[in-house]
């Protein structure tokens, strides 16, 4: 089932979510990565990062908290070992990047600009801005826009720049608009809202990092709402819907809200085959509802109530 992310065609609308598929090789033991819409990498940083101390994980009702802290090899090792492995196999790869300053994001984008095998760049804006007392870029439209503009200006013209937004804001539409105005070709949402859990035996925060990102089914209603609001305000901007997708039906909700692709994170921890299963379920659902193409369903829930569902009851050939 094909879809387009900006001008890039993906063979499937289902991608991994950033930071939830390690280097890609781990999942390759389970299935052929070509069957993904794209592999979204962990957020690559300039220097290698050891991440946060453990415990990094706590289960919560229908969700989990994580505080991994962008553990990863750094851009050098990524370009030397991880990206070539994916590129040689022709696996569509969206490289997520994370930085502490606008300059760092730009420097990362510069390193990726002529690297072979970069399908798109996803800008993880949920990183603390060390030049603004650690305030997360995604929380402030201006800071987010600066990052996006700097990445867009150095990135290869044919590689879409995807801005990844967080839901912990008063007005996601204004942050989305700032990013699109700054040159984002697409948006991805949502990153993890900040949560916390306390261990009632040790009487201490369950995570070493105290707070962590909430993911899993618990956040699906937040993701659907963010996609809906942003698609409503910016109907022309492609959106990757991410957050709590465990089934094809969850993915379908995001598509109906306005997403043209769907990212899967936490579900992969539960089921390594989740992306394939979700694509199959989504395809079955679309077919059962009489849709011929995914594109016909994107944002469909926005149509005024009672308006004819033109696509329906036609012959299906997804």
């Amino acid at each position: 089932m094909r879809t387009f992310l900006a001008h890039v065609e993906l063979a499937s609308p289902v991608t991994t979510a950033a930071g939830c598929a390690a280097s890609g090789r781990e999942l390759a033991q389970f299935f052929d990565l070509h069957r993904l819409g794209a592999l979204v990498t962990r957020s690559i940083t300039m220097a290698p990062r050891a991440g946060r101390p453990t415990p990094r994980m706590a289960e919560t009702p229908s969700g989990m908290l994580n505080a991994v802290g962008l553990q990863g090899p750094g851009i050098d090792v990524f370009l030397e070992r991880e990206l070539p492995w994916l590129a040689q196999r022709g696996i569509k790869t969206i490289v997520s990047i994370g930085g502490g300053t606008v300059a760092e994001y730009a420097a990362l984008a510069r390193r990726l600009a002529d690297a072979p095998g970069v399908t798109a760049v996803e800008v993880n804006l949920s990183c603390p801005n060390i030049e603004d007392r650690g305030r997360v870029f995604a929380r402030e439209g201006g800071a987010a826009a600066e990052v996006v503009a700097s990445v867009r200006s150095v990135m290869r013209y044919d590689a879409p720049v995807v801005a990844k937004l967080a839901p912990d804001v008063a007005d996601i539409v204004s942050v989305a608009r700032a990013c699109v105005d700054a040159g984002a070709d697409a948006l991805s949402m949502i990153n993890n809202p900040l949560g916390m859990s306390i261990d009632t035996v040790s009487l201490r925060p369950a995570l070493a990092a105290v707070t962590g990102g909430l993911s899993g089914p618990a956040v699906l209603p937040l993701a659907v709402r963010c996609v809906w609001q942003v698609h409503s305000a910016l109907p022309g901007t492609p959106i990757v819907g991410v957050g709590g997708v465990m089934t094809g039906e969850d993915a379908f909700q995001l598509v109906l809200a306005g997403a043209c692709a769907v990212g899967v994170g936490t579900a992969l921890f539960h089921d390594p085959y989740a992306c394939l299963r979700i694509e199959r379920e989504l395809e079955d659902l679309l077919r059962a509802r009489g849709f011929q193409r995914l594109a016909d369903a994107v944002g469909l829930a926005h149509r005024p109530p009672g308006s004819p569902a033109r696509h329906l009851h036609e012959e299906s050939s997804l």
């Binding site: 389970f30 101390p53 453990t54 289960e59 991994v68 921890f269 089921d271």
Partner: protein, 285 residues
């Protein structure tokens, strides 16, 4: 691989629950030290992460079964403990890197503490097949938590089984590490294999270093995925190049050489680890 296994039998073994599950693909590829991840809670559960459990044993019946032995610690394992014959459970496995086996016959001491005692049993089989002498040290807080003593005794024809309990209710009063030095000395052991709580593994490693023999440990860290993609199960391990890295207990382990694991720094990012904040990074871009 992922399989939907059918529960064949369930039983209580003192403080533990044992489930035998038909899971042909997993049983076939099992090597001692492997574990599986089990989804818990059933349809529409609020528990989204799987539970990691060592494979205690595999049998060829029904194309291949795996046996899991566990404590009903929290809601997930309690749910598992309620499974009955013919229920199905979803398993992913076998996972992790199993214990490396010695090329030539040698003397091995197998240490198992608490539910970790489930692991030495199948390992002993594999070692015996290679002509190794296998001695056991199994221990726990109390007698009802000492697992596998009978089976170990049956296997260890030519060797010894030492049991320890903290409360003295069975065998030697104390921890496995209290008995271990004597067993190493008596059996002139060449290597120690150990599975149990992190504190125990740390002490077993110290004993091995003291005795000048290698220790292979199977560690246990809180895990969200078990397959190497979530990065939540890391611990500091020293590589061949002397560099400390935050390695994944699930995919890089669970078996490590004891002296390579920086047990005292587990739960921290050692300042000299690769990529540690403020300097440990060796390859800063």
């Amino acid at each position: 691989m992922q399989v939907t296994g059918t529960v064949l039998t369930t039983r209580r073994v003192d403080a533990y629950h044992a489930l035998t599950v038909v899971a042909p693909g997993i049983a076939e590829r099992f090597r001692p030290g492997h574990f599986v991840s089990v989804s818990v809670g059933g349809a529409r559960t609020s528990m989204v992460t799987r539970r990691a459990l060592y494979v205690h044993d595999v049998k060829p019946e029904y194309g291949g079964t795996v046996e899991l032995v566990f404590t009903a610690a929290g809601p997930g394992t309690s749910w598992l403990a309620e499974r009955r014959a013919r229920d199905t459970i979803a398993l992913v496995g076998p996972l992790g890197r199993p214990f490396p086996l010695p090329r030539d016959p040698c003397h091995c001491v197998l240490v198992g503490a608490e539910h970790g005692a489930a692991v030495p049993i199948p390992l002993a089989d594999a070692l015996a097949e290679r002509g190794c002498r296998v001695d056991f040290v199994l221990g726990a807080a109390s007698a009802d938590r000492v697992f596998g003593a009978m089976r170990a005794r049956r296997m260890a024809e030519r060797a010894t089984v030492t049991l320890t309990t903290e409360d003295g209710s069975l065998g030697v009063r104390g921890a496995v590490t209290d008995a271990l030095p004597g067993v190493i000395a008596d059996t002139r052991a060449d290597v120690v294999y150990a599975c149990g709580p992190m504190r125990t593994l740390r002490e077993v490693t110290a004993v091995g270093i003291e005795a000048g023999i290698p220790v292979q440990v199977a560690v246990e860290e809180s895990m969200a995925c078990g397959i190497g993609i979530c990065m939540t199960c890391v611990l500091p391990v020293i590589g061949d190049d002397g560099v400390t890295r935050m390695l994944r207990a699930c995919a890089d382990g669970p078996v490590f050489r004891g002296e390579r694991v920086r047990f005292e720094d587990v739960g921290t990012i050692p300042f000299d680890a690769l990529g540690a904040p403020g300097g440990g990074a060796r390859h800063v871009g």
